[in-house]
Symmetry: C2
Amino acid sequence: MSSAPVSTARIANPEFQARLMDAEAAASLIKPGAVVGMSGFTGAGYPKAVPLALARQMDEAREAGNPYAIKVWTGASTGPELDGALARAKGIDFRLPYNSDPLVREQINSGAVQYFDMHLSQVAPAAWQGFLGPLDVALVEVSAILPDGSVVPSSSVGNNKTWLDRADKIILEVNSWQHEALHGMHDIYYGTALPPHRKPIPLVTPSDRIGQATFRVDPSKVVGVVATDIPDRNAPFKAPDASALAIASHLLDFFQNEVRVGRLPASLLPVQSGVGNIANAVLLGLMDAPFEPMTAYTEVLQDGMLELLAAGKLSMASCTAFSLSPEAAERLNGEMALYRDRIILRPQEISNHPELVRRLGCLAMNGMIEADIYGNVNSTHMMGSRIQNGIGGSGDFARNAYISIFMAPSTAKGGAISTIVPQVSHVDHIDQDVQVIVTDQGLADLRGLSPKQRAEKVIANCVHPTFRDQLADYYARALRDSYGKHSPSLLKEALSWHQRFIETGSMLAK
Amino acid sequence: MSSAPVSTARIANPEFQARLMDAEAAASLIKPGAVVGMSGFTGAGYPKAVPLALARQMDEAREAGNPYAIKVWTGASTGPELDGALARAKGIDFRLPYNSDPLVREQINSGAVQYFDMHLSQVAPAAWQGFLGPLDVALVEVSAILPDGSVVPSSSVGNNKTWLDRADKIILEVNSWQHEALHGMHDIYYGTALPPHRKPIPLVTPSDRIGQATFRVDPSKVVGVVATDIPDRNAPFKAPDASALAIASHLLDFFQNEVRVGRLPASLLPVQSGVGNIANAVLLGLMDAPFEPMTAYTEVLQDGMLELLAAGKLSMASCTAFSLSPEAAERLNGEMALYRDRIILRPQEISNHPELVRRLGCLAMNGMIEADIYGNVNSTHMMGSRIQNGIGGSGDFARNAYISIFMAPSTAKGGAISTIVPQVSHVDHIDQDVQVIVTDQGLADLRGLSPKQRAEKVIANCVHPTFRDQLADYYARALRDSYGKHSPSLLKEALSWHQRFIETGSMLAK
């Protein structure tokens, strides 16, 4: 994008300086068919200059009759300069482990791109395990290369340590737009191994530092170093709407009651929160709640958490990436001294590690597409077949959380879709891993209940009134006519709400 | 059952001796509506005398017009003297976390019993967390009470430590049928806590001992001690049939190839195996395989593992319970000196702990009811609504395993049911947690594949020939007509195979 000269002052080691080149030259080192491990996690810390240059090369090659696509591994989602640009160039034929780019999504759902949707904590171990095959190139944005050759991570850590260690060749984008105070905020744990050599991970509170501030990078593998100053491109902040505020209010009441009856400490337990409108509403609700000092052990740090940190309600936050609006990113960069010691960025295999999530007892709060009356949750597939983004870290947290909470407005598409359905069209979280369901209508605490007890509570508390009678009618008939009465089900109708939406544009029966 | 006088020599502490009473007197201490935490895990170490006496009291009360039911928590399944007898007396109104008794199953599926189906590793933590409510009585079989008042566990550990610590009152059955050499074979870890006080669990190999050999029991909570000598009642061993042998053969070929290409060590990684015909076939197949010395980190020790231990192919096995045929139990008891130091019995929260399963890198081998073309697995529900047993520990292992394998014959009910279906009628294991599917037809290694790549492999390798064309036809039409093409699905047909079975007795289209 930027064609002005970019500072190379952040590249302070001669061996790395010797590999300095422009983005076009670096991109040309990535060959058709290559498997490329890229940095990037929710719009933070993804490479920008080289993917743009690569997309131009792909366009030229394709126009010359030589299709040119690669396999892309990342941390999670990235930005338009990466997924968007490569997809426009028809340059991705395989993608893992998470995507939120609209064009890539369209290509996955049209069948053009093969997508492997993974638990985010398992990507790095899987890359070592070998069944994913070799990793040809690591293309990683960093914020500085120090005189001794150690490398300061950028605004996300993701799988970068693994890509750098595992790849045959390395290309680094050194981004001087990133704040130099990032140096010291990361905690890169080098204690992982493959079994039988795995050891306990020595983290017992979210604020523990168990690693080092920088990546180790073998300079002999570095084939290109590119200087950039392109900003991260995050989604703008949307003020919570009435539905999000209602969800937040139900959830805060629930937490207050859990504290009152002695099932949660007064400062809660480490919170994990997804991103978006509802997550921010919950976090903003915590601003006025009596729980403090809280901590966060989570995947991404979003606007709401920054505010909680600034107010001292949150004493610290551990994450693998920032996921800030442009305004919040500016606020962070402008007041870095305030935040610097209260934020730790870790590899995603640590931020999401089941061992740690269970040990810390995280309160997991994630969004969903739909839930069924028995508490199964669909986080990924529209109408059972169209992928939205991916499972992300929701499974890492939900299975091991102290309390696993899923939230969504009770309807979608202007009321045409009910979030609560007879049977989810795809399962990402089985009923055992879903303890609390919250919609704007209310909250259902499903802990310790049998399927039928769960169904009664979900129908009573969570369904939008437009769909309540329709769902109660289904359930009553299922109770009467089901093959088994443990989880009553009418197989002919269980997915009929989704089919009706496909055919008529609404799940509502006429 | 037995009315001959039973030895009380195993009750060597005077405080416990003072509570000695017969089973009837002990049973009368369990009041209608009580929540009772019982021992028992796959037919091993469950209380026998008191439940039988309790069932008689329930019958009498019911006949007198006073319904008398309790809530039963266990380790997992038990024996006919417990679940069977209480169910015959209509004495169970709530049950967790796993059941395999036919009559209890019938009562759950008719709607008479509320059943809460849980991950077995999560039962003990949930009992402490509080949402399950108070535990009135612990009714636990043990093998001895030592002079110092410490208590030697029986042939299963399950949740007994937690029941003993958590319950208001304790009733102990001291079973002198259990071998006295059990003393020393258990490893009871007392380091668990609720967050924020959880610490790393210091186990790094299956053979590590991290706890103590006996339970601590507060004598002031003990209201009854009953002497028994009733044997454990385990299922008889069935010799593997042709289908089980074919599955074992495909799986052993897979392991050999993984070793050959360097993705598994020559002695494999700790194996976890379910119970039954197929599991035993795989274990017996390992007798002739070149992997040694193997270890096991598993839930239950079944006949096949005992044989591997005897042959020295398995250097040790860690589990939470025995699950032996009567012949194998006799063999164990007769040659205890041979096995004593090679078997460790642990609480099920440790035997199944996700932290440990992932650290050790278990090779998880579990049975299933059905799988779909995308690799989702149903372990629990027949036709989506009838519970079979429960999820047990399969989720604990599958999610965290180094390789997660699910196995079943390609058909059931004499060929009327296809194990491979367009969409499973209930999901227990999401596609992300299912890496290898094996039927008698073949093996599908699904690691690293997109949904469509998985579907092609499952259809090619695992489906019975009778159903192959029918499934290939479904998939071809789904590819063409599905709403989304990421996980192609025809919602009107996805569950039609199950509906056809309910209506016609066969999944096969005419």
